[in-house]
């Protein structure tokens, strides 16, 4: 059995006890990637030499005997919309196919400093727009549980790489569910932190007021370790919040006794797969058995969350993506004869269909004459949704919900139906609109043998509590790992 299925905690112990060296570990993972990537397509860039070099540095730290981070020598993968200096950062778009940023994102800098080893950059939906990782210039990510199925998105590569043992952990980004939904589809843990908890500096913006970077890990404990490394104030991001961070590992096993957990009736009244409903409710029941108090709660405005989300995210995206004009970097059309053609052709050829659809939607929503009716109204709905959550959290510690109405669907199955895809985001987008933290934790398999995720949401900056409750779910339902016979055939 390969070493590559271990958690951060387990691997860190092996590194410290000299059972394995950091370089050897990196090489093992690189081998794993070489074998599996042709079928999973999680990585778009693999940093062979850089990874070995970083592992050598990490080994020196390990050998130094000084107090070092748990992440020292631990392999990681980073979603390809997070800037890594001198390493391709493409957003899975033709527009940035050869773009090498001259600086690194804050999160990457922090992890690098702790000694984590970058294996490569991970596939995704173009500019993080999508929920299946099919909208990518590099071809779709395949779900390691069943390679005929999507890995979810937009952080599909981040989730699939963890599930397929192609990294120990990864970073994704979540604008409307892009960490939680693929985590759920691939049976790994995914956290979207409170807006402002993790620096966005160096995250290539999709929708600035909604984007957050979050970890994808094999288990809850690992999620806490990564959060400890990446959270905290960053003077380079004005929207990052300057309040002290919790130690997410402290009291992580304190249990859920007497915690009040709300089940939003609006969510459970929504159509979803029976398997998903059953697995989610049975996980909730386990929480109850461990001492939590479960009650229904109403979030009346969440039924409007999907349209509000698509208006706000697309509006911001239309502005954020306007800089890709073919002038300074990125794709430039060869056919243009004047400046206006240069803009039009570069953007028409450089962006994929889904990205163009969102830019058009957003441009329309911000245009004079529609601005008040669409954009401003969506902002009002956003406020109402935040109010719903604030009210709910007066009486509840946590809210439990499904992550997605179905488990991983087949590649291509929904590609022609954007509306159906958008409506699927009903359970995830409201946490982004309200800015609250939300966790996806595996809670079982459906009849097809595909993972189901439970979503836990909490007050702003309650990540620690989410992880505590998530750990109970994990203990009760068991960590999901891909059976050996499947793992070997990927």
């Amino acid at each position: 059995m390969s070493i590559c299925n271990k958690t951060i905690k387990e691997t860190a112990a092996l590194l410290r006890s000299r059972k394995i060296g950091a370089v050897e570990l990196a090489r093992e993972y690189l081998k794993e990637i070489e074998e599996k990537n042709p079928s999973v397509n999680a990585y778009v860039t693999v940093c062979h030499e850089k990874a070995v070099k970083a592992a050598e540095e990490a080994q020196k730290l390990l050998d130094s005997g000084e107090e070092i981070s748990l992440l020292c020598g631990i392999p990681m993968g980073v979603k390809d919309n997070i800037c890594t200096k001198g390493i391709n950062t493409t957003c899975a778009s033709r527009m940035l196919e050869n773009y090498k940023p001259p600086y690194s994102a804050t999160v990457y800098e922090r992890l690098e400093k702790e000694g984590a080893v970058l294996l490569g950059k991970l596939n995704m939906d173009e500019f993080a727009m999508g929920g299946s990782s099919e909208h990518t210039v590099f071809g779709p990510v395949r779900n390691p549980w069943n390679t005929e199925c999507v890995a979810g998105g937009s952080s599909g590569g981040s989730a699939a790489s963890v599930a397929a043992n192609m990294t120990t952990f990864s970073l994704g980004s979540d604008t409307g569910g892009s960490v939680r939904q693929p985590a759920s589809f691939c049976g790994v843990v995914g956290l979207k932190p409170t807006y402002g908890r993790v620096s966005r500096y160096g995250l290539i913006a999709f929708a600035s007021s909604l984007d957050q970077i979050g970890p994808l890990t094999r288990d809850i404990y690992d999620c806490a370790i990564v959060m400890n490394a990446i959270s905290g104030y960053d003077s380079r991001d004005s929207t990052s919040v300057n309040i002290p961070c919790d130690d997410y590992l402290q009291d992580i096993d304190a249990g859920v006794e007497n915690l009040k957990i709300g089940l939003p009736s609006e969510f459970f009244d929504t159509a979803m797969d029976d398997d998903v409903r059953e697995k989610v409710l049975s996980a909730v029941q386990r929480l109850e058995e461990r001492g939590a108090v479960i009650k229904e709660v109403s979030l009346p405005s969440v039924s409007y969350s999907v349209p509000a989300y698509y208006l706000i995210s697309s509006s911001e995206a239309s502005s954020n993506l306007a800089r890709y004009d073919g002038i300074r970097y990125g794709y430039r059309s060869e056919k243009a004869e004047n400046i206006s053609q240069l803009y039009k052709l570069s953007r028409s050829e450089g962006f994929g269909r889904e990205v163009k659809r969102r830019i058009l939607t957003g441009t329309y929503a911000l245009s004079s004459g529609y601005h008040d009716e669409l954009y401003i109204k969506a902002l009002k709905v956003r406020r109402l949704i935040a109010d719903d959550f604030n009210r709910a959290f007066e009486n509840f510690d946590l809210i439990a919900a499904p992550v997605y109405p179905v488990t991983a669907f087949r590649i291509g199955e929904r590609a022609g139906d954007p509306l159906k895809m958008y409506l699927g985001d009903i359970f995830t987008v409201s946490a982004n609109l309200a800015g609250i933290p939300a966790l996806s934790v595996p809670c079982g398999l459906d009849k097809k043998g595909l993972p189901v995720g439970l979503q836990l949401m909490g007050k702003p900056f309650s990540e620690k509590l989410l992880l505590r409750a998530g750990l109970v779910v994990e203990q009760e339902t068991g960590r999901l790992s891909i059976p050996c016979e499947i793992q070997e055939h990927i």
Partner: protein, 482 residues
Amino acid sequence: MEYEVIIGLEIHSELKTDSKLFCSCKNDFGGEPNTRCCPVCLGLPGTLPVLNRHALELAVRAGLAMNCKISGFSKFDRKNYFYPDMPKAYQTTQYNLPVCYDGYVEIEVDGITKRIGIERIHLEEDAGKLIHDAYGSGSLVDYNRCGVPLIEIVTRPEMNSAEEARALFETIKSILEYTGVSDCKMQEGSLRADVNLSVRPKGQKQFGTRTEMKNLNSIRAVYRASQAEAQRQIEILERGGIVYQETRRWDDRKGESMAMRNKEESMDYRYFPEPDLLPVIIGEEWVASVEKNMPELPRSRRDRYVNEFGIPKYDADLITMNKKLSDIFDRAVAVCGKPKLASNFIMTDIMRRINENGEEILDANLTGDNFGQVLLFLDRGDITHAAAIKVIDKIVETGEEPKHIIDGLELWVQRDEDLINNAVTSVLEANRPALDDFLAGKDKAFGFLMGQVMSKLKGKCDPAQVREVLMKEIDKSAGRQN
């Protein structure tokens, strides 16, 4: 028919901060293209802005100096448009909640004071610069200016003549200089104005259609463009034509404007709140501390000149209009202790040099210290007025010490009595007829004799002393005659 002209100005001014509005790049004019930019001001993917606190302070200072209210809650917005000089394809500016609003400044035209409303002052970033065909054909972009902080000052449409528009522009320029908000170097484009102008028949309540004249970068251009545009619109109306709402470009060389784009072509900027910046919350205490540290404003300086120094208001106005000149004056007075002498010298001799050679003469070598020393020598009678002017010219040219210049040019007043006596005696001998004329009652002849003596002495003696000796000698010769 008689027409009423209505003018409002939008004035853009670059702020005198060390760094740019949203990053730590240096805020400075010029430089090798694209050497003063970073991932943030280049808008590279993933970068985020962080507001420069000093820029905010300067905007508040400008607002206070123009009697504005300061918004307790203000925010930034994105103005979206494609242009190669704007690397994010949007300008971060303030749309509906500017930092300062609802103020006024007072202008004076022909001795009449008028209050012009300031609608708002907001903060925004400047764009880069396009360079056309400088290196072969094609256009290049220099992003050094990109992200430099600007304020935009929007007046109410309350000016009724080109003279008033010019006076407002001058007044605001001097306020910005005095408060240290901007260095107002118009040749570098750090201060520029848009003129919004309409005309209507006198007595009509409804405004006429207005046009906007973009990017006027001198006081003269504001004046001439306003005058020409008012004339153009009146002529159209007189002919029975229609004035179209449009943006026009002023050609200062030709002295005329041409249409740039009309209302239908006007852009939809799709403003929305900048999600990468938090709203700006400005506390009253902070505003009070900004107010406390506010430098002296031109008005109060003028009043000080009039009340403490007894300088005529007209002179005081002219001196204070230009901050550099006024600073030189203040310092010179401190050095020589003679405010009237200093103001008279400025009003006659320095002003003439500014008019002939431009304000640049104040940029370089002339300082309050060296000017004050020259005045001190003049006041003591160590040099003559004519010599003082020579010294000032030399200072402007070389920046040498006054004493050194006077030594070098041998301009010290000669006090040697024998020298003067000899000169007077020889002039009186050589100009007998003039002496006789004077004695016969022709007073003018004295001036001639005096001039002859001074010229013989090459202007190096104290005229008062010369006059005294000359009078004495004339008296003597009169006594001999009688």
